[in-house]
């Protein structure tokens, strides 16, 4: 589990540029973001990034996990399938990596920051996959109960 407070401070400085870029390319992130206006997209993206930075800082994924569970439920109520959230968090991770590489001086420090960040992105993806797996197990049990 990544825990890199030094990186978190550097990353916090990059967040405005990351957000601007994410808002700019939101139509390519996934269906859910494509439908939002700029203010709504920015608000949601800021929440996701804020929880990921918190995870990067503390190394504790509990808050990120709880947020993603609520966020997934809200998106599902909008009719968005589970893989959409997975695509969205991965795309957010990729765009953020590009901004880090673009706006930071080249060298080992930036490479370390990228390395920390992709691990956050990976953990986030894993949390979402775990949620999908849990949901699948729950629905299978529900279906078996109904059909028996």
């Amino acid at each position: 589990m990544p825990s890199a407070p030094g990186h978190a401070a550097v990353f916090a400085g990059l967040v405005p540029a990351v957000l601007d870029r994410l808002v700019e390319v939101r139509s390519s992130l996934d269906h859910g973001f494509a439908r939002l206006d700029e203010a709504q997209a920015r608000a949601q993206l800021e929440q996701i990034l804020s929880h990921q930075v918190g995870f990067l800082t503390s190394g504790d994924s509990t808050s990120l996990r709880g947020f993603l569970r609520s966020y997934r439920a809200l998106r599902a109520a909008d009719g968005l399938g589970p893989e959409n959230l997975l695509h969205a968090v991965t795309a957010i991770g990729d765009v953020t990596t590009q901004i880090i590489q673009r706006d930071s001086p080249s060298g080992a420090r930036t490479a370390e920051l990228v390395s920390s960040w992709v691990r956050v992105s990976w953990s986030t993806a894993r949390i979402v996959v775990e949620m999908i797996a849990e949901e699948l197990a729950g629905r299978v049990a529900q279906l078996q109960e109904l059909e028996s």
Partner: protein, 159 residues
């Protein structure tokens, strides 16, 4: 038979009672065109569902027109066509044929609309079931949130 179809086609503006509708087709145009097609083909082929008419009605229902609007337009077109045919067709046998074909096509419209309503009910039930699944997720998320809020709002509570 296509000669009769051509003469009925001339009645189009009168039967459709043309009004400005912007980008949308005139109400009842699909039905009228289907009647003309059926007249042109009368006796040549076995009767069956007119796919063009089916798609046109499907498109309108998908766009949000209600079934009863489609049915009432059908009734209005039928009535205006019967009036126009009585006035403009001298041959009673031709007028009878137009009425027969119009009745057959009106029945097709009713069939298409009825089956579409059935389809809509099935889709709405499925959508309701999906809403209930979404509600379950939301209730799970709410339970998680309430539990966390309770803990976070009481600073000295230990785990």
């Amino acid at each position: 038979m296509s000669d009769l179809a051509d003469r009925v086609m001339v009645l189009r503006d009168e039967v459709l009672d043309i009004v400005e509708r912007g980008d949308r087709d005139q109400p009842g145009a699909d039905l009228f065109d289907a009647i003309v097609r059926a007249l042109a083909a009368y006796g040549e082929t076995a009767p069956g569902i007119d796919l063009t008419l089916h798609d046109a009605i499907a498109r309108r229902l998908a766009w949000g027109d209600t079934e009863d609007v489609v049915l009432s337009e059908c009734g209005a077109v039928f009535d205006r066509l019967a009036t126009a045919a009585e006035r403009s067709l001298r041959d009673r046998a031709e007028e009878m044929l137009v009425l027969e074909v119009a009745a057959e096509v009106s029945t097709q419209v009713a069939r298409i609309v009825a089956l579409a309503a059935l389809g809509r009910a099935q889709r709405d039930r499925a959508a309701r079931s999906r809403e209930e699944l979404a509600q379950r997720r939301l209730r799970d998320a709410l339970a998680d949130q309430r539990s966390t809020l309770t803990r976070m709002s009481v600073p000295d509570v230990e785990d």
